[in-house]
Amino acid sequence: MFRRVLALIKKEFLAIWKDPRSRAIIIAPPLIQLLLFANALTMEIKNIDMVVLDRSNTVESRELISRFENSRWFRNIIYANNEIDIRTHINEQNVQIGLEINNDFAGQIKQNKPVSVQVIVDGRQTNSAAIAGGYASQIISQYSNEIDKRPQGASIRAEVRNWFNPNLEYQWFLLGTLVSLLAVITALMLTALSIAREREMGTFDQLIVSPLSSGEILIGKTIPPLIIAVIMTSIMTVLAMLFFNMPFAGSVFWFFVTIIIALLSIVGIGLFISSLCKTQQQAILGVFVFQSPAILLSGFISPIEDMPLLVQKITYLNPIRFFMTITKGILFKGMLPQDIIMNLIPMIIMACVALTAAGWMFKRKLD
């Protein structure tokens, strides 16, 4: 039995590995995407361009504008002559934000009287708009506090400490997420077609009439993609640490246990989808139907606590959710083994269910 399975594993490895084009497509894209996205993506808002209508044109108003120019969030300042200018620049998305200072600005300040300035934000890019508006208010209130000569009042300030990532580097968060995301995508693409392709080509029938039992076919189909995906994940982790100084706070042993179990559950799901499909097109699209909602609902883009209760419950069926929690926990926070195990259990259950279902699908085809 062992020799039979070994032969099948060898054949599966060869099927993936013998074609140089398919070798390239397995290795290159995840690595390129890791380096590309890690450099490009951030949810921080930077390089904001602003249009200013300064009706006051005094030392005070120019000082306020220079605060914007010198801040790390704002890039170009365009001066407008009238309100129509402001409107056109914002409409055509030349700028993301507008500032209007009225002509009583300096006079009011000199008399210690409160004065308002208008900040207009382009709400089409809603998330960046809210943050850019927040930055503008922050700059203005800082300037206001500095020139305010009135006696101090009661107020509440925050003393902030960011644990695990003191400067809130978005890149770290992104790397931890990208490594697990690309690992999942690799594992899925390796398995999705493995059965559908054989069925489309007609070679699956040959596999069925061979002496291999459905359990043996299952093992033979599981191990090669699992090994390749685990190796790819390790390479990506090392790259992220070498090129982007990603920290590794926790234990290497538990990290490997995690990726093996997580990828096993993904391989199981991939094989199950593949076993349902008659053609490669169906398998590819079927994987897509699983993969993209799973990515979107993993907490990568929008936090899970923020979703409606029903959707939150659905995410308990999403292996990527647990995978990401552990990856980030181990890499950045040094998560404790008992907490890791709590997150591993759901993935172990999913792996068992998916693999059993896939094996059962083979058996059903045998009858």
Binding site: M43, I90, V119, G123, N127, G133, A154, E169, S302
Partner: protein, 382 residues
């Protein structure tokens, strides 16, 4: 009166194309996965974006430890409790709170120090200590700012309110096009870019490769069918399928989810059509060059779906990317479509944006059509 009859050659051209298109349509109809990608996936996406993705009012789970015995702080904790932005858990044990932060039960912690209310009483600024989970970088930003605004709101209504002075310079914030800063208004139309990329690139990436893998392309080439027939028979059915899917998605957005639409439907679908054509160009180019469904689908994923999600400006702002990447995004069709469709929905027709997007998409679509045409084999030796 003489009726000009079409020449026999022309007639057979039309008949060949019609026959091929019929064949392609039958393949679409007979394989449920095509319908899946055109209608079920857009539907799933819209539901997820509507209920699962929220980029504006994020609710942060935070622990609170109160060290100040003054009774007023109880009303502060109540304010946190009633806020839409924070789900608070009150802790008595600081270490337990820290442990919960490490295992991601809470995403931040607020500590009210014991001199908090006495400082306020002396009309001085008082600090609250905020600890965030830096491994959730984005959430940490919210965890920093929400408690301060809630606390200041509380302050202006508490018994200390007479000790507060208004700021000298007040900021009046106005959000154009989206006053409630509801992120669904921009992410729902924007998600169309992703679903249309799927149909345009992923589905078409498979269709030519499939014919080569199954050997039906060779059978086709042995007939009188010309290059242009093959190319058009691949473009037309999937274009129709894609546009139907777009109509369905736009209907879902506007009618079912009540996303405000300020623009013009004709312009929306015209630019949408150009976007679809350029995506199909990418998909068919991949398919024609690779002739293998596995490779084609992976390349389509790598150059189509992931950039559409990551580099189109839908979720990650383009302005914040390094300069080189900002230029790179100028060559990606989804970037134009995302910026166009958001503008069309929220601000109405802005001609500069419409023309810029149309021009780019039309040129790219045409270039790719030419490539697909040139690379479509007419002989097997190719």
């Amino acid at each position: 009166m003489m009726i000009k009859k079409p020449s026999p050659q022309k007639l057979s051209n039309i008949r060949i194309i019609r026959a091929l298109i019929t064949k392609e349509f039958l393949q679409i109809v007979r394989d449920p996965s095509s319908i899946l990608i055109a209608f079920v996936i857009p539907f799933i996406y819209l539901v997820i974006y509507m209920y699962g993705i929220n980029l504006d009012t994020v609710k942060v789970t935070m622990g609170i430890k109160n060290d100040d015995p003054a009774p007023e702080t109880l009303t502060l904790i109540k304010s946190f409790d009633q806020s839409d932005y924070i789900t608070p858990y009150v802790y008595n044990d600081k270490d337990l709170m820290y442990h919960d932060l490490i295992r991601s039960r809470i995403k931040g912690a607020i500590i009210i120090p014991n001199d908090f209310s006495s400082k306020l009483l002396k009309s001085r600024p008082a600090d609250i200590l905020i600890i965030t989970d830096g491994s959730e970088t984005n959430l940490a930003n919210y965890a920093q700012s929400y408690p301060v605004s809630i606390a200041n709101q509380w302050l202006s209504e508490s018994r200390y309110k007479y000790l507060v002075k208004p700021p000298l310079i007040n900021t009046e914030l106005r959000y154009w096009f989206n006053q409630d800063i509801n992120s669904h208004y921009f992410i729902m139309p924007g998600s169309l870019a992703i679903t249309m990329t799927l149909i345009g690139i992923l589905l078409t990436a498979l269709v030519v490769a499939r014919e080569w893998e199954r050997g039906t392309m060779e059978a086709l080439l042995s007939t009188r069918v010309k290059r242009i027939h093959i190319v058009l028979s691949k473009y037309i059915p999937y274009f129709i399928l894609g546009m139907m899917s777009m109509v369905f998605s736009v209907f879902m957005c506007i009618v079912v989810y009540n996303i405000p639409f300020q623009g013009n439907l004709l312009i929306l679908f015209t630019v949408g059509g150009l976007f679809l054509l350029s995506c199909m160009g990418i998909g068919l180019t991949i398919s024609t060059l690779l002739r293998d469904q596995f490779l084609a689908s992976q390349v389509a994923l790598a150059v189509g779906f992931l950039p559409a999600l990551m580099l189109s400006g839908l979720i990650f702002p383009i302005n914040s990317m390094p300069e080189g990447f900002q230029i790179f995004t100028r060559f990606l069709p989804p970037r134009y479509f995302v910026s166009f469709i958001q503008s069309e929905f929220m601000a109405g027709t802005i001609w500069k944006i419409v023309l810029e997007s149309s021009l780019f998409l039309a040129i790219l679509g045409w270039l790719l059509f030419v490539i697909v045409y040139k690379k479509t084999a007419v002989r097997l030796e190719d």
